[in-house]
Symmetry: C2
Subunit: 461 residues, 2 copies
């Protein structure tokens, strides 16, 4: 039976790629109000596909973008394990457009890669699961469990409406575990179960100086320059070796155990090749930790954007009226986002000079996550990974944040299995995002093989 499902998937591969292209073509950028209609159209598109597959599908409005729910047909009277498969149909902004080798919303296939914004993060990954379930249904095979797909449209802007939705649909979404494919694997050879994620805290810092841009010759010297004040303020957040200097920042960090560090050291990593891949002259970061530890298991503070004064061609001799920065923190267990945001605000307030006025705008946030590798579900997932990819899988810590994993735990009381299909060079959030079509195929295999394994270790509730 399983072979029939896998054969069905293999036979339908080119059709699946076509569907992924159609999906990527929709510029569902949730951060930009100009794409509001595209986001709505994208929800309708994926709901349509779910219905076509044979799922009972609804598009649920929220205070933000709609959430798509799609259930496998239930068998009356039969209580089976129930798993929730999560994905998001929204994508990151595509700017800067000029760095794309082909337009971000015109999918292009080159070699094994499909290029386009959202191909890997996250359209390709959850589409693989949908196609796998389609294969179960179209071959007339009986699923060993009930499945509900939850595909939302605000992951890239913090999933603000998801937790209320989960609370509201708590009964219907009651399940044994959540499955998400929105993380990565270290290489094509290393399928991975991600057991840890970093949390995130976003904020925007703005310093207000004079009421308008001023002539720097006539006035310069008599007032604080907001851009310089911002540089000095931001410079005070981190030392030159990458260690964050905000008081209390590391207080809640759970130290890495010897075993944690041994697991991470097993992963293939070549510093020089990695630096070349990033395009930087040198790697950099907190002393005493390897690059892999720093990017996945240690907290960071990043400036995501700077804005002040004149940015056009040539020069404009002004003291700018204001300066602003977008910041994100990445948190590790057991740092709490609310506390970290408070520490940041306190430090910024304390360090802000008197010649400017500080404004801190809080952004989205999410706690870090850790799944106990001894959980039987983890073992089951590793078995499915091994069959799907025909390789031994690894346990991974990931540096990215999927804040909603914590919502699933808090609201639904369940753990999340993260079975990522992205490769390290997929360029999510960057120009030239791509998805490896071999991983798309193996991801569909995984989506087929997973359910018997998971169902076997779960007692129906």
């Amino acid at each position: 039976m399983m072979q029939q499902i896998l054969d069905h998937l293999a036979a339908g591969q080119s059709r699946s790629v076509e569907q992924l292209c159609d999906y990527v073509r929709i510029p569902s950028v949730s951060a930009q109000p100009a794409h509001k209609a595209d986001v709505a159209a994208c929800a309708d598109w994926i709901a349509g596909l779910c219905r076509q597959i044979g799922l009972e599908t609804g598009v649920h409005p929220t205070d933000g973008n709609p959430i798509v729910l799609a259930r496998t047909p239930r068998r009356r009277g039969l209580r089976r394990p129930h798993f929730l498969v999560y994905g998001h149909y929204d994508v990151q902004p595509a700017e800067p457009f000029e760095l794309w080798e082909s337009p971000p919303f015109e999918p292009r296939i080159a070699g094994h890669s499909l290029f386009g914004r959202g191909a890997s993060d996250n359209k390709g990954q959850h589409l693989a699961h949908l196609k796998a379930v389609e294969a179960w249904l179209q071959t007339g095979s009986e699923l060993p469990c009930d499945l509900t797909f939850l595909i939302e449209g605000e992951e890239e802007v913090g999933s603000g409406n998801l937790a209320p939705f989960l609370s509201q649909k708590r009964r219907e979404l009651h399940c044994d575990a959540v499955v998400i494919s929105d993380t990565g694997m270290p290489s094509r050879d290393l399928p991975a179960l991600t057991c840890s994620l970093r949390g995130v805290v976003a904020l925007e810092v703005r310093l207000h100086g004079p009421s308008r841009d001023l002539h720097s010759g006539i006035f310069g010297g008599s007032l604080e320059n907001p851009a310089m004040a911002l540089c000095q303020l931001l410079a005070s957040l981190r030392d030159k070796h990458g260690r964050i200097t905000v008081p209390g920042f590391y207080d809640e960090v759970r130290p890495l155990s010897r075993q944690d560090r041994r697991e991470l050291a097993r992963l293939p990593f070549n510093e020089r090749r990695y630096a070349r891949f990033l395009g930087v002259p040198d790697l950099f970061g907190e002393r005493g930790y390897t690059a892999w530890e720093r990017r996945s298991a240690r907290p960071t503070l990043e400036i995501n954007g700077l804005t002040s004064g004149y940015q056009g061609e040539g020069s404009k001799t002004i003291v700018p009226a204001w300066a602003s920065a977008k910041l994100t923190l990445r948190l590790v267990p057991d740092q709490r986002p609310e506390r970290m945001a408070r520490l940041m605000r306190q430090h910024l307030k304390r360090a802000c000079p008197t010649g400017v006025r500080l404004e801190v705008e809080p952004g989205h946030g999410g706690a870090p996550y850790l799944l106990d590798p001894a959980n039987p579900l983890a073992d089951a997932a590793l078995r499915a990974l091994k069959q799907a990819f025909r390789r031994d899988p690894v346990l991974l810590r990931e540096g990215g944040s999927i804040p909603i994993v914590n919502d699933f735990k808090r609201v639904l009381g369940v753990e999340t299995l993260m079975l990522g299909l992205a490769l390290p060079d997929d360029n999510p959030h960057s120009p030239n995002e791509k998805f490896d079509l071999r991983n798309f195929a193996d991801g569909m295999r995984l989506g087929a093989l997973l359910w018997p394994e998971l169902a076997a270790v779960v007692r129906p509730a």
Copy 2:
């Protein structure tokens, strides 16, 4: 005779204002290539006006924007004193447009003010001189000297083509002094001769990090963040009290004499009112100096603009590929621009971290200037100011830079008399630039009264 000229000017005031409006309407922004044609049209417009006044006028091409030369008719065989009147028809960029209360290139009169980009800097100011000479010519009065107007189109981008032009026309432009109205007066009650200007050095600093924007969750922590590196690099240029920390920066500064400081202390100044005018919570700057000293007689370092990463709405969780800053230094006697640019480059190179690549793009530069107040031309100019404004004038140091004043000294070997008509709230280089129409009228009076005074103290060459 003089009364007749002044009456003629008074009678023609509304026509003069109309002409100024026409002039301001031309968006001659030299920093922006998109305005190239407007800049050329502006040169033609002012040349047309010069011809109409009765001046022998030519529009001279340069490697950049054209220079307009317009001479009063010469009397054969008569050697008279010769003065050069300088102005510039180009203007600063008008961005940010949304902060203008009326469109920058649609002049609007409210009360005594004419609002529009370039009204004060510098179209209104040199137009006053042209209108004064028109009055001399139209009343049939005989000027006591020869005059040449030189009106260029690259002052706001560093006047790069002016010095070569002066060298090339050295013979024709040989003169006894240069007169420029492109500075300010402390208030309507205080006409001023500016005897000192600050120099300027512009540069752009760019730090290159990864070859593209990277996901800050997946990669953050393993590489230097160019925006943070830029903040730390720029923060190292100045301490928190406004003192510049670039080694050697103050070495060449000529200390202010007791008399210098006494003169500056005479000027009317109310710290609280000034802070309110600027719209800042507090004044700020180098310890041990008054605000007036700091803005006119002490060197400064200003950040004019910052650019990095994502600047749109919402957040984008990236490590940006690069970060850049536009900087200007203001220099005082006897700091040399080349040396200061070198010191900056050296310091930046030394302080730049290894995880990013530094690029420093040099911009325009100009030396500071000092006119000896004991020069008889200074006295003559003060007398004309007193008559034109019916008030006692002051000797002023100005914080702005007019690099070409040094070119006049170097190439033509003459001093420059700076008789500014701008008021402190004229907002040059800022939104809502304006020109006071009473100063426009008094400026025309000055332009009429000046020549007998100056001619009297000069021996024909």
